[in-house]
């Protein structure tokens, strides 16, 4: 392990001296050398596992409730106590990971794709395409984000997680698009792109092979930094009553209910710890990725 690490470091230093962008493998190695990243990555893997197979963390069914135990504190076998409805809170918090993970990861990935593609097109084809995309983005920018989300989601009669994702994507892509567009601007006149164009490489091939890989780094960093915010956004929307439908187990709805029952602080504490840890983990990972991608910091 140490040998590989040392070897990788030598390669890295040698390569950077030449001013070449680091390869994926090198990036991964330098990421793994950050202890904060490792800890957060392990935590996130745990959260992902929770979302995918909550059964391995708790054997208690979160929907078995006994109203007589409403808001009872922790007891043997029920480490987080009971919620307002008298359901086991530990299993509810564990099962609550799924919507949060799903929303944050899918929304971020979708945002990366949408903003990336649109930014690529806007940046590479100035003129009509750029005008169309950029002006649409301006319109969306003019809407106050949270208000627009609340208004649109309120108008949807039967909300589910995919509709919420769709609306978040619809409102959220302009920021990333602008970033991508500006980096594409700086790349599109580089010698290797001009060379490719000169020998008649078709536009889509130039975009996918030359422009995109060289312009995506800032957007990638921005997206990973934003994943944590998405967890909070899902929680906030559900808290405001325009998120997931009632009956769905999620941290946001647990939070919303806890806000009305101050006499039982455990209702508030546990989901907030989980939301915070997950958000911070995503942010630290985002930070680490930005650090390794930023050539200025590397030198």
């Amino acid at each position: 392990m140490t040998q590989i690490a040392v070897a990788a470091e030598e390669v890295e230093i040698a390569d950077l001296a030449e001013g070449r962008a680091p390869t994926t493998r090198e990036l991964l190695i330098s990421l793994l050398r950050k202890p904060a990243f490792d800890v957060c990555a392990v935590l996130l893997l745990l959260f992902f596992a929770m979302a995918a197979v909550p059964q391995i963390f708790t054997s208690v069914d979160p929907t078995v409730c006994d109203l007589g135990k409403s808001m009872h504190p922790a007891s043997a076998g029920h480490p987080f106590g009971y919620d307002v409805q008298g359901c086991d809170y530990f299993s509810n918090v564990i099962y609550g990971a799924r919507p949060s993970v799903l929303v944050s990861v899918v929304a971020s990935f979708g945002m990366f794709l949408l903003a990336g593609v649109l930014g690529l097109l806007a940046g590479y084809f100035p003129g009509f395409v750029d005008a169309l995309i950029s002006r649409t983005a301006d319109v969306l920018f003019a809407l106050p984000g949270m208000v627009a989300l609340i208004v649109i989601l309120n108008a949807v009669p039967h909300r589910n997680i995919w509709i919420i994702l769709g609306v978040i994507l619809m409102i959220g892509w302009p920021g990333g698009m602008r970033l991508m567009r500006s980096t594409v601007f700086s790349v599109r006149n580089k010698e290797y792109v001009q060379a490719a164009r000169a020998i008649g490489v078709p536009a889509w091939r130039i975009l996918t092979r030359h422009v995109f890989p060289n312009a995506m780094a800032p957007l990638l960093a921005m997206t990973t930094l934003g994943v944590g915010g998405m967890v909070g956004l899902e929680a906030a929307l559900t808290f405001l009553g325009v998120g997931l439908p009632p009956g769905t187990i999620s941290w946001g709805s647990q939070f919303g209910i806890a806000a009305s029952y101050r006499e039982a602080p455990h209702l508030f504490v546990w989901p907030s710890i989980f939301i915070s840890v997950m958000t911070i983990s995503f942010m630290i990972i985002g930070d680490s990725i930005r650090d390794v991608l930023d050539p200025k910091l590397l030198k």
Binding site: V64, G247, S260
Partner: protein
Amino acid sequence: MRKFRLAVLVLAAASAMAMSACGGSTSGSSGSQTATKKITIAIAAEEIPYINPLNDNGSPGIQVAQALFAPLVRTNPATGKLQDVIAQSVTPNSDSTVWTIKIKSGLQFDDGEPLTAQDYVDSWNMTSQESRGWENAGFFSKIKGWDAMNPEVADGKKPPSNLPKKLSGLKVVDKTTFQVTLAQPFSQFGLTLQYLGAAPMAAKEREDPDAYKRKPIGMGPYKLKTSPWKTGTDLDLVKSPTYKGPFAPQADEVVFQFIPNAETAYNDFLAGNIDFTGVPASKMGTYKQDAPNQWVESPVAGNVYYLSYPLWDKQYASADVRKAISMAINRDTFAKLVGPATAAHGYIEAGLDGYRANSCGTSCQYDPAVAKTLLKQGGGFSGPLKIYYANDSSTGQVYAQAIGNMIRQNLGIKVTYIGKTSSDISDLADDRKLDGLRFSGWGHDYPSIEDDITPMFACYGDANFSQYCNKAVDAALAKGNSESDEQAAIKDYQHAEDLALADLPLAPLYSVSGVDLYSKQIKPQVSKYTGISGLYATFTP
């Protein structure tokens, strides 16, 4: 349609104030104290668009009207007996069909005009016309001539244009006396006269009611400090120099603050900006710590809350299914979740004459095993079962889920929840389009068990949440209405309750008494008959 105080559906705590306001304490004169006695009362609702008790049946409007108008009679907060306020006497004939009402002489409106029997008769005639669309038109439906004035019109048809403009049952005898002839005997009519929907309107206002929307001419203990009342400002009232009637509250100045969010009002009280406010449902667990020695629980076992079945939906057509759902609910634990509430096992509010503790019997007992059998007997339920809840109340979803969990676990039915504003839910139900359960509630407008049955269970009931109709119930009510003996009437009303409970169009859930908070400078009036009143608070020196 008479729909008094439907606001109780959401504003459980606020309605306690409304129920109470007719009470008064005339004792304790202010003596040498010279400072203005000013009280700020929070009303947890949107600002009312106009002040007119004849055209308003919501809790906020009633509260305001109680300061600006005075009723004919009231319930004495100390004895629970009916006593005259504006009326000098209210006398029925032997079979309770003709009521002679004499009002005190020398009373006047705020504009200085004398208050006469003619004012009452003209105002009632005006309100009674359903074509004018006034909210309290139905209140007068028992008076002779009402049916001729408001004939049934088929959907989409226009009512005839030559309808009578006057009720044949109303007759002015002299300047201060008028006579009311009812279409059917109604022994409780005297009690209903404490409702402010029967308040008189001044002659000038009758000519053009719209012009006086925000500068009403009252005849009660208070008047507007600045007239007209500006939108978006607090409603500031001062003592009316022209009020000569009895039972005026102590305060020299009353300020009503409209605060749409009950929790905001609660926090505003804790910040010291408000003298009197209700406790919202979500604060029922914490108010004793938040405002020590400044809270009072209503001694009246208040409004009854129900789970309403949509009888027009064939899934709920079988009484066995309705009983199964009712028996799957553990009312005691549910009441504990609500706060200072007690499980309801009948339709009548505890405290009223004729209340029986367990009139519902086994249909309201928690028994999951029997519930399951009943469900099978009734043809089962092909889910999901929908529960509609008011999303403008912070506890709506919690209550809905609590009920839903019990139904799901005890009957094995999948349950989904739909949050809508309470007015959207009422509209859906009025159009018979609601396809699920909903919560509803009721608080009496006058202290008679008749008022806990007729509105919800008579075919013609104004608050018939389930659109229930059983001719036998109507007959029992009519029999009670014609009894001159109070005890005999109660027996008939109880029979009507039993008939309704056998069909169970509404499942009684819990009854809740309000809790109110008051500032250090006042002591609210507390009565086991009329509840808590902030308006009639006494000032501590």
